[in-house]
């Protein structure tokens, strides 16, 4: 990519910008931060000489790992100053309003989690990464991911119950892949 293969870079960008933008948005609640992080991930790819090594894990882990580090740095620096984002919604304003009211509470609860729990909840439950992929992105053991996810979800449940009754549970197949 450092050779300037624009077509390859564009293909890579278009395949991954969405997931990486959504990761940063979900973990920070800030569209501005998500935009910056997405851009910086690919700038980092342009700067790096070693590039991606498939022996070290899936490309999703590699890119999420870069996004995670950049987002973490920004979140810690701008702690307390990140408003909940206003991302683009569908065309139906009323349905959108109801959905936003419900999910705002969930998002605020997610954003209220300690960052090391929040990252794993977002990676596994919102980004759809496997435990192994999340472990590679975060740079920890699979057992640590499982533990953080367990505790993060436990705290999330407590926070949601303290705000209002949670939505009726439904059969929950694995989230987005």
């Amino acid at each position: 990519m450092r050779d300037g293969d624009e077509a390859a870079f564009t293909a890579l960008y278009r395949r991954w910008q969405g997931p990486l933008y959504r990761y940063a948005l979900r973990v920070s609640g800030s569209p501005a931060l998500a935009e910056d992080v997405t851009q910086e991930v690919f700038m980092a790819l342009l700067r790096r000489n070693e590039g991606y090594d498939p022996r070290r894990g899936e490309v999703s882990s590699y890119l999420h790992g870069i996004a995670r580090n950049l987002a973490r740095r920004r979140i810690e620096r701008e702690r307390g100053h990140l408003p909940l984002g206003e991302e683009a919604g569908p065309d139906d304003p009323l349905a959108d309003l109801v959905r936003r009211e419900r999910t705002d509470l969930v998002w605020e609860a997610v954003l209220g989690l300690p960052l090391h729990y929040r990252e794993v909840v977002v990676l596994c439950d919102l980004q759809g990464l496997s435990y192994e992929e999340a472990a590679s992105a975060v740079g920890c053991a699979v057992g640590t991911v499982r533990s953080r996810l367990h505790r993060g979800r436990e705290q999330l449940g407590t926070r949601l119950r303290s705000v209002r009754p949670m939505p009726a549970a439904e059969a929950a197949p694995r989230m987005m892949r």
Partner: protein, 211 residues
């Protein structure tokens, strides 16, 4: 299966993944026989449901087109990358917020110069097309009384604005460096003086460093 074993599996059970068929059947059988674990499973399923709703809300979110445009510009002109510098296709939005906050905090330093507005228009950058980044800035180009203003907004011709104000602000160099502004080296200390062009709505439109 014990309640302790169930607790180990309940998250996987509620998420619907990572647990084999046999393990899933065993855990569900335990939940049917244990009220406490059944309630625990319902709680975890509710968390899963809430997260799915959040995931659906943000499922279509993508980076704006200007990010791709900025990256392609950087790809086509990789010089500063090879030099080890930071190529910033556009200043972070945090910079804009910082500048506004600094301007408010140091009102005493504000110099409003309405009569200069017409003259200023001659020095303003042209409109940036929507989706394109601000011009990358290097230290030599960014500083000095003859430095040109660098646009902070997109798709807006600054020369057509009815009302312009020039706000002089002083900012610590370290704060700018920490926010990734490429004109300021992190090793430098002290403050930097900048002029910010603010529209009638109070939004910063352009900046230049005069120190």
């Amino acid at each position: 299966m014990s309640c302790e074993d169930f607790e180990d599996d309940v998250v996987d059970l509620a998420r619907g993944g990572e647990l084999g068929e046999a393990g899933r059947a065993e855990a569900l059988a335990h939940a049917e026989a244990c009220l406490r674990c059944a309630a625990r499973l319902e709680d975890e399923r509710a968390v899963t449901s809430a997260l799915r709703a959040l995931g659906a809300r943000t499922a279509g979110a993508e980076a704006p087109a200007r990010v791709e445009a900025a990256l392609l510009r950087a790809l086509r002109d990789p010089g500063p990358i090879d030099a080890g510098g930071v190529v910033t296709a556009r200043p972070s939005r945090a910079i804009e917020l910082l500048l506004l906050a600094a301007a408010a905090a140091i009102l005493a330093a504000i110099v409003v110069v309405p009569p200069r507005a017409d003259r200023l228009r001659d020095t303003l950058p042209p409109a940036l097309p929507a989706g394109s980044p601000a011009t990358p800035v290097v230290a030599e180009e960014a500083a000095g009384e003859n430095a040109e203003f660098v646009a902070l907004s997109y798709g807006e011709d600054l020369r057509e604005l009815d009302s312009l104000q020039v706000v002089s602000v002083e900012l610590p160099r370290t704060a700018l460096a920490a926010l990734g502004w490429p004109a300021v080296e992190s090793a430098q200390t002290g403050s930097v003086t900048a002029e910010v062009i603010v529209g009638h709505d109070g939004v910063a439109r352009a900046i230049r460093f005069v120190d």
